[in-house]
Symmetry: D2
Subunit: 194 residues, 4 copies
Amino acid sequence: MTRAVKRNSTAARQGWHPGVLAESGRMNQPSPTSASLTAAPASAPAPAEARLQPEQRGAYPMFRAIATRWSDNDAYGHVNNVIYYHWFDTVVNSHLVAQGALDIAQGTTIGLVVETHCNYFTPLAFPQGVELGLRVAHLGRTSVRYEIGVFAEGAATAAAQGHFIHVYVDRATRRPQALPPVLLQALQPLRAAG
Amino acid sequence: MTRAVKRNSTAARQGWHPGVLAESGRMNQPSPTSASLTAAPASAPAPAEARLQPEQRGAYPMFRAIATRWSDNDAYGHVNNVIYYHWFDTVVNSHLVAQGALDIAQGTTIGLVVETHCNYFTPLAFPQGVELGLRVAHLGRTSVRYEIGVFAEGAATAAAQGHFIHVYVDRATRRPQALPPVLLQALQPLRAAG
Amino acid sequence: MTRAVKRNSTAARQGWHPGVLAESGRMNQPSPTSASLTAAPASAPAPAEARLQPEQRGAYPMFRAIATRWSDNDAYGHVNNVIYYHWFDTVVNSHLVAQGALDIAQGTTIGLVVETHCNYFTPLAFPQGVELGLRVAHLGRTSVRYEIGVFAEGAATAAAQGHFIHVYVDRATRRPQALPPVLLQALQPLRAAG
Amino acid sequence: MTRAVKRNSTAARQGWHPGVLAESGRMNQPSPTSASLTAAPASAPAPAEARLQPEQRGAYPMFRAIATRWSDNDAYGHVNNVIYYHWFDTVVNSHLVAQGALDIAQGTTIGLVVETHCNYFTPLAFPQGVELGLRVAHLGRTSVRYEIGVFAEGAATAAAQGHFIHVYVDRATRRPQALPPVLLQALQPLRAAG
């Protein structure tokens, strides 16, 4: 197994100090030095985000392991922020294929991604192992909101967390479709505890 | 130039109908079918997101061209949602290096990404050309919020838009650092018009 | 485990017929229709390549599992030819880190890749599991030639096989260095049987 | 343009000394320290490879620019060896789409990659610009061998060079197909000078 390597010390050496995270929280609030720049109204941070904290494992009903790759690390020596989204795609679609809810090549209804988001708390680095917690936080008539927690192998607290929203469409016409019954069934074990 | 190819018809054939976008907006609001699933409070969608509309080119003070690659298209034949973030990294860091505000190999202060987000309105596909609009929407003492609009080459309306937040840290200790003057200078031309 | 999903039928549906492989072999030899184009002498195919056959598992002394990712599939719905090289990097460097022979962040001697090659026999597709066989076929004073067989999970015959050559250099000066003893030790279990 | 940034000094600082290249050439030949390892016969290096030298721009009839991306650099701060193959895919397919010889979504005949190869002489690094020289070195009844030279923007000598071989198959049955006339036409300007 590629993930069965011993924990490397890169991540530890490069660990952000607690102050970074707090700083990251504070920076969503007005500050004196930002007086000359104004955010577009549509993208003003929700107050909730200013208090964002990493979640614990118990917040996710299901986990899947991810083996990191050499190419996940970028020029700064840790997993690049973009890679987390490659993992999101992988964990969701792996689950759906395993449950018979996604036929990549032939399915007539497919999920298109219309929104993605991620917050990063602690760096990760190849070759360490990673575990992704997965839950479904919202179901619409034609859409699903997945929330994903990224944990260093065995860690209690998330290194990052994010979400992405699938809207289901007809493969050929790309018009929205009601979520198919086989999908609803596959999402049952991912329901958020709350 | 890789981007100097004629416009291909893939994107047009795969264009989402307006209903998809509206559906995407509506799905952030409570709906009867979602009664059995509850969103975690920390990630409840802000009301503003439910009204999200693609922006026009004038919303961005600076543009850079991106040449798509074969590998940008995924199994569904259009640019994968993750690739947009590779473009975000590229456009921001290209600007900073060009302005002398980022020395990837030697700089003692580096920007770590603590939050990323993207909304997708219209699909794109290799080999079409893409242009990224870039603005700085918020400056904190140690952080910068970039907002990026993704436009099909020559298009008036964004195909996608997102943001990412850099927090500046000391390369060795990873402790937060005030934004260096050379960076503040490099960000001047990216100030949002508002 | 992302790789613990059931075998999907995509690869089977897209399996190349034997004729493709034979064709691939034949195409390295002169043919009437190629009379008007001449290959550069330096890159003339070696006669051995014209007889290239996929190897069996026994040809490799060590195996590591690779979990495929959504992004491994390209617009044709199977793993893109480039992705195999991401796996090569990963399997070799995972082994070296696990053996204490590679410190990505701090090592003073690093292996730079000077040559890579791959032949593809049978397509693979996410989410199927993959296993990589690894052997060391040649050791120079400052270089190592790794040979890698790519097998669908549980398959007897390689879906692809390739090699890559590392030359060891001083991290700072990039001048060639003799292979360090800890590396030679790590390569022992990878010696080709022959 | 992302590639219109000033040359950064990363590549220069990390330039391999001439000794590396020579070493790379020598390492394909038997050496005393390799006595205990034997290469598999099928993969024995051709004598020609031991004398491999980087080519000049004149060896390629056509060029296309490639804009590097942040994610092209790996943990060692230069473009990862795998990325060159992403560029190969891009330059060939861009040319074919521009010439009307490839319809990614609908074409009934597609080119599958059966062999790829690359030799690396000099490192490259984002954000520097890159230019790819392209030629067709061999045409079979159902296959094409492309040879690609990778040049730092404006450089006279290749930083890397490689090839890849497409075999044409029916999209549905994956059986080999004769090269279509529109493809043969598109390949005319890529014929090797020799």
